[in-house]
């Protein structure tokens, strides 16, 4: 990277095909940023989980709702923001997938995996509707 921030943004349909598009966008910029293969793997998985959540849980696959993905990179931070137009959720109220009672549940691991694979995760409610999830990977951490 030459020190100048890079950024790209797209608005996508609430369809599973959009998960691949979002992942490709994120990985294209992450690759330019020089992340290791292991970090690229983790970034890709986190972005896919976030896109799936936005499409399935946020927008309910609605053809009337969109998912916005923004990917940017500075010399210090690689950031992905994914926003849906759903009703929102409280991350503090999500069940812990590692708790014994939840370990064998069919679903509920997405946010946990995003946190495990990225350095930071923030959830913000949007007005009038929707949720924006920000995923950050520190570029310095790859050294």
């Amino acid at each position: 990277m030459d020190g100048e921030p890079s950024a790209v943004e797209k608005v996508l349909d609430s369809a599973l095909e959009s998960v691949d598009v979002g992942e490709r966008m994120a990985l294209d910029l992450a690759r330019e940023s020089g992340f290791s293969e292991e970090d690229l793997d983790r970034i890709g998985m986190a972005v896919r989980e976030c896109m799936v959540n936005a499409i399935v849980h946020g927008n309910g696959y609605s053809s009337h709702k969109k998912v916005r993905i923004s990917v940017s990179c500075t010399p210090e931070r690689f950031t992905v923001q994914i926003a849906d137009q759903g009703q929102g959720f409280d991350p503090g109220k999500l069940p812990d997938p590692l708790a014994e009672d939840n370990l064998m549940r069919h679903s509920g691991r997405g946010i946990f995996l995003m946190r495990a694979f990225m350095d930071d995760l923030q959830v913000r409610r949007l007005e009038p509707a929707g949720t924006e999830v920000t995923l950050v990977k520190k570029v310095a951490a790859k050294r």
Partner: protein, 114 residues
């Protein structure tokens, strides 16, 4: 590529060779349907050969977990063979690695059902 399944018998053990991506949508649902069919046919010993699984997401993990629960509740056994580094990491992070009986060698895995 989504997922490709090939089913074969090794004695009384049903081995499903899984190749490709087990993700939300076609991949995970294909695996789910195949395992449900085996359960319907009263297959009690099922070994998933995951050597060629290139990718699995949380939906794929969910299908593995649901299949394990369903098969175990019906007195059967579902075991895993040949996890890639990526899949093994995922199961370890989610604390599911010790839930499943995981093997590296097929012959050993088949014998373990006895």
């Amino acid at each position: 590529m989504s997922v490709k399944l090939t089913t074969r018998q090794v004695g009384d053990v049903t081995v499903i060779d899984v190749a490709g991506r087990i993700t939300l949508g076609e991949g995970a649902s294909t695996l789910r349907d195949a395992l449900r069919e085996l359960v319907k046919k009263d297959q009690k010993k099922i070994l998933l050969n995951m050597k060629d699984v290139t990718y699995i997401d949380s939906s794929g993990i969910g299908e593995l977990v649901s299949a394990y629960t369903s098969i175990t509740n019906q007195g059967g056994h579902l075991k895993l063979l040949g996890l890639t580094h990526r899949v093994r990491d995922l199961l370890q992070i989610t604390k599911l690695y010790t839930v499943f009986d995981v093997h590296e060698d097929e012959a050993h895995a088949v014998r373990s059902f006895e």
